[in-house]
Amino acid sequence: MGKHTPLHEAHVGAGAKMVDFAGWDMPIHYGSQIEEHHVVRRDAGMFDVSHMRAVDVQGCDAQPWLRHLIANDVAKLSLPGKALYSCLLKEDGGVIDDLIVYFFSPNRYRIVVNAGTADKDIAWMNRQLPGYNVAVTPRPELAMIAVQGPNARAKFWAAFPESKAASEGLIAFQAAEWRDWLIARTGYTGEDGFEITLPAAEAPAAWDSLKAAGVAPCGLGARDTLRLEAGMNLYGQDMDESVCPLEAGLAWTIDMKSAGRDFIGRKALEAWKTSRQFLGLLLLDKGVLRSHQHVLTKHGVGDTTSGTFSPTLQRSIALARLPLGVRIGDEVEVEIRDKRLRARVVKPNFVRNGKPLIQEN
């Protein structure tokens, strides 16, 4: 039996199909993964993401320590509550994890890391502490609920009207502390919404209040199809310790601007000779793309890293690492079992805010 989040009883009581995810018993769906996908694109859904780990970083060296630890630069965060997405890299440039870091003050930040990598990440962070006046405090006692969709914020405020004053002014990727909750305008679906961090003991009542306000419980299955449509990477699938972020579509998260900033992995990235690029595929023939399928192009062979059926596009889509020289618009072939199916190379960004971003044909 896996670990349970504070919402485990709520999931089981709602008839969720539970699966193992990184050692946690998590709901994959509550009936139909596709309906849960659509409710997030069209209205409002919520995900239990309490398996992810919040880690507080405090101390007078918090900012210089984070500028050394991660590839994106927290020095550009000045608005209280503002967050950024970053990779945590090894010296050789491999990706230990991807994370979000929230800024409260130059001596107080919060990081949120993936469930499957949390213990490894925290051990790594602790090894980087010597020489810095910083305390790293994992917060496993906190629960997290992602409320996502075009009506997510309105329904969240209907459930928690007292929180509106604190959270209605938030811009994208900004969070506000409200009581002992953190309300962040972030997500992993390509839709507007909030990610709420709150004490575990309050999570079941908050879940029920959101449900009563018309927010539909959604499982990790829909979370995966939503993030893939939004072109967002999944750690362990699209990148891992053997993959350079420059070949995983993550160059935008690596901040090289400050020449004197010696972040872990910088030297390796500066010396890196890229041979592959990260792009999207839209399957033209019938079938379903999955991870680890060969992609045949006139410039060589690539691989899919994530693939699924896109409920919004009603077509199969994938993220793929392809040889340099392949261009957006090219037609390629994907090996699926004993067949070669035709796919078109597209920007790895398929759907945002309910709208397809690519032309179907």
Binding site: I28, S32, I34, G221, K286, G287, V288, F309, P311
Partner: protein, 127 residues
Amino acid sequence: MNNPANLKYTKSHEWTKVEADGTVTVGITDHAQEALGDIVFLELPEAGRKLRAGEECAVVESVKAASDIYAPIGGEVIDANQAAVDAPETVNQDAYAAWLFKIKPSNPAELDGLLDAAAYAKVADEH
């Protein structure tokens, strides 16, 4: 669990129905569709293909995963269900109505080796 008593089953979660003319209709069980989740694609054998019992002959893909379908008995494929190919979600809605293909058995005695509903229910419980 819904396993009609007039059908025979395989350990790999196919159901079979012997029709009045001796042909055999094949589909996947309610347990199988439930485990797969939302089905979005079917790849079925073409009419005329000769199958051996246990041979991989079709693929059912859900949002989550691809699952191979095995021929419950040997024989020649005489029909595939195009309506299910066009609307794969009908397999989720009623796995015993949305059949996949029909076989003309080469050796009807192979049917005796299949499971009855009670024996299949035990198999499904273990998975």
